[in-house]
Subunit: 139 residues, 2 copies
């Protein structure tokens, strides 16, 4: 089976320093609040999702002292962080392999647990023209 790329953009990740302040800002901009809040201790982030009729916005703030998000904010400041594509479960590992074979570098040896109970696999921005890419899938 060949993965049916291109897959839909599921969400755009945005790094923020203060999640409460960012939620207030986006609630004003969108005219409605977030539809999902979660803290991912293993990823070192607290997140808030805002729905639009197409892709969603995921705000990510550092959680804990060793958060990679804290490092990102210290180096680059708040702003655009990653793009996530949603892949059907039956094509998920095939698509990860296909992209890896193309030269994209997975950040972890296997998918990890992300927000909303999804599997997530990140690929290094240096292997994707400066863009951190996520492939996510509902288990």
């Amino acid at each position: 089976m060949t993965p049916q790329s291109p897959f839909p953009i599921d969400h755009i990740g945005i790094a923020v320093a203060d999640l409460s302040e960012a939620i207030a800002h986006y609630t004003s901009v969108f005219g409605q609040g977030p539809d999902h809040l979660e803290t991912l201790e293993t990823q070192g982030v607290s997140v808030a999702f805002f729905t639009t009729p197409t892709a969603s916005i995921e705000l990510l703030a550092p959680f804990g002292d060793l958060s990679p998000m804290a490092k990102f904010l210290a180096h680059k400041g708040p702003g655009l962080h990653h793009i996530a594509y949603l892949v059907p479960q039956e094509q998920y590992l095939l698509e990860i392999k296909r992209l890896t074979d193309l030269g994209l570098q997975p950040l972890t040896p296997a998918p990890t647990l992300g927000a909303k109970g999804k599997q997530v696999q990140f690929f290094h921005p240096k292997s994707h023209l400066g863009v951190l890419m996520e492939l996510c899938s509902y288990a």
Copy 2:
């Protein structure tokens, strides 16, 4: 009339140094080529759009010596550049005013001509938590 926010994410803009190289890369990643190519002399960019089932990807490369995109690349390198929301024409100026009233800073006094013949209005990242936002609309 109150604008019916949130509006759909139309596309995500990505700054690239070499458009041909980037088109080849994304064509491999997506398994299909771009559906639209255009040079916007007034904006100083050449662009390529790739469709996904939700939002699109817009690759932007500098065009001309005074391109703001060349300045962006020199300062930040290639990567995520902006998020564009699509607003129906009858709500477009109202939504620009609503966001301006919220404190978002328009980059130009009025919308300008963007890709695909659309009107585009950018808002300064400093007024939107580090994210360059575009509102676009079909005239």
